[in-house]
């Protein structure tokens, strides 16, 4: 019990350190909030407007079961910020430690190696939650998205999917440690996972074999459950099965990710290459 408390304190200390670094670069922090708006939301809404008939997104009603493009894409941005927490929250932090030459000394402390990734993911999830709150506030003010009241169900969904995001964090951390210069890989995989989760479009428009990969991602089920609850869209799978898939895929990602992280850490320790970058 004492060890668990110590590890929790260490994870929180890592998260605080990451948040402190993030907040030092204020313009970058502001940009991180605005980026999903100008890079995903506005181009998406305006592309939707190009296909609108009589001011209504009748095509989206056929494929997603709603004509509310703004609400649909707003919820998609939530998946985007969550994925970014898992991908970039961990990748950036490990890369910075590698480049600064501080990873080896940090790993000499008695804290477990997994705890560092947990701390980095907590920091990433905190930005994700703050970003989401700000985005929702902007959405309500600018576009009149009436989602907030119906998003109470998002709390348990976010709690479950956080486990999967932690698993993604472990996997990304292992990849960064092995590849060292993994920016393109992380960026590309983040983009692919966001797209396959259905952030910008319903996955029904994807080819069937790609759709099966989507079903294996916890973010797909989290996002779909949120859309079902907030917009009344038809679910991808029967609801009990969708909740089950959310739980199963989240736990699977955590187990596979943790295994990959520990195996990589062991390999680097044996090879003595932790300090290389």
């Amino acid at each position: 019990m004492g060890e668990l408390r110590q590890e929790s304190r260490a994870a929180w200390a890592v998260a605080r350190k990451e948040l402190q670094i993030f907040l030092r670069y204020r313009l970058n922090a502001v940009n991180q909030v605005l980026q999903p708006i100008y890079q995903t939301l506005i181009p998406g809404i305006l592309l939707g407007a190009t296909f609108a008939v009589g001011g209504k997104a009748v095509g989206l009603a056929e494929t997603a079961g709603t004509t509310d493009i703004t609400g649909y894409l707003f919820l998609g941005m939530l998946a985007l910020t969550l994925c970014t927490a898992g991908f970039w929250g961990v990748a950036f932090s490990i890369k910075m430690e590698l480049d600064a030459g501080t990873l080896e000394p940090v790993w000499l402390t008695p804290t477990r190696r997994e705890t560092f990734v947990i701390g980095m993911t907590i920091a990433g999830l905190i930005y994700a939650v703050i970003t989401t709150i700000i985005l929702l506030a902007i959405g309500v003010w600018l576009f009149g998205a009436e989602l907030v009241g119906r998003l109470i169900v998002a709390v348990p969904i976010l709690a479950i999917v956080s486990v999967g995001v932690l698993g993604i964090g472990y996997l990304v951390g292992a990849i960064v440690l092995r590849m060292r210069e993994a920016n393109f890989f992380v960026d590309a995989t983040d983009f692919i996972v966001v797209c396959l989760s259905g952030a910008a479009f319903p996955i029904i428009v994807l080819p069937w074999f790609v759709r099966w990969i989507s079903y294996l991602l916890p973010t797909t089920h989290a996002l779909d459950l949120m859309r079902v609850s907030a917009l009344g869209t038809p679910p991808l799978l029967p609801l009990p099965l969708e909740w089950l898939m959310l739980g199963l895929t989240s736990v699977a990602f955590l187990l596979v990710g943790r295994w990959a992280w520990l195996a990589t850490e062991h390999r680097l320790r044996v090879a003595g290459t932790i300090g290389q970058h």
Binding site: Q35, L46, G59
Partner: protein, 281 residues
């Protein structure tokens, strides 16, 4: 300026181009990125467009009426290819100066008798090679994936439009380079301007769907004309004569912006040299 000065500057320009190209080749991962992004980014919007169309004829008719073409994939791929080229240009001169600053070589480079314009525009040629590469990848993806055929005449007209757009876009890049010398890191500013271009210049939509005020902002920005004209000549079969008015505006913007960029860069360089700030970052 004597003839010898001019020849010397041209040699320095060629040397700067070779150096940048050599650095680019060292990072093989960037080649992969220049194949992945020109396909993946527009493809995501093609799927989004498919969702918005919903397989209905009336939605496709609405798109054709507003966009002036029924080639949804072509429309989006050309828009996002221009966006990627624009990103390279916006980051290019500023990032190159910043890298020299961080490596500690900027002061040494500024001690040479070469013109400052060589320092500023030296990386431009290697970036132009990337731009051509992006458009080639997009052309191949459109032909193989969507059966959109861009013939040699359309391609030649597209290159002419790009050539007219180059001064305006490089001038914007040079303005950012001045900001780098003055303030150091400008990532957030570049992201913000790129965001403005994405939001109003019509990468994924025709600007006709924007509110009136946003349309006016769009018409004051060079990328709007570049994207619209590229789509006209590549997808709608328009000749250069049909877009000559737009090209004249784009060329005019290029002259004004290039003048501003040279002035801003000279001023900032003087400030940095007098204050001993060239090596600070």
């Amino acid at each position: 300026m004597t003839r010898a000065d001019l020849v010397g500057d041209l040699r320095a320009f060629a040397a700067a181009t070779r150096k940048e190209w050599r650095i680019l080749r060292r990072y093989k991962g960037s080649f992969l990125s220049f194949v992945f992004w020109p396909i993946a980014l527009p493809l995501a919007f093609v799927f989004q467009a498919e969702a918005f169309a919903g397989g209905r004829e009336d939605t496709m008719a609405a798109f054709t009426e507003r966009a002036g073409t029924n080639e949804v994939a072509g429309f989006l791929f050309v828009g996002w290819a221009t966006y990627m080229w624009l990103s390279i240009i916006l980051w290019g001169p500023g990032t190159s100066l910043r890298d020299e600053q961080v490596r500690g070589s900027l002061e040494a480079v500024f001690l040479t008798p070469a013109s400052r314009l060589v320092v500023l525009f030296g990386p431009a040629i290697s970036q132009l090679i990337w731009a051509i590469w992006i458009f080639l990848v997009v052309g191949a993806a459109l032909q193989i994936g969507f059966g959109v055929n861009i013939g040699p005449f359309e391609a030649a007209r597209g290159l002419a439009v790009i050539a007219v757009g180059i001064p305006a876009l490089y001038a914007i890049g040079a303005l950012f380079a001045s900001v780098v010398l003055r303030f150091g890191n400008v990532n957030a500013l570049v992201q913000g301007v790129r965001g403005l271009f994405t939001a109003v210049c019509g990468m994924s939509f025709p600007i006709i769907v924007l509110p009136e005020l946003a349309q006016r902002v769009a018409l004051a920005l060079p990328p709007t004309y570049l994207i619209a004209d590229l789509r006209s000549v590549l997808l709608a079969g328009a000749g250069l004569g049909a877009v000559i008015g737009d090209l004249a505006i784009l060329a005019g913007m290029g002259v004004v912006l290039a003048g501003l960029a040279v002035l801003a860069f000279k001023r900032t360089e003087q400030y940095a040299r007098r204050g001993g700030k060239l090596a600070q970052y």
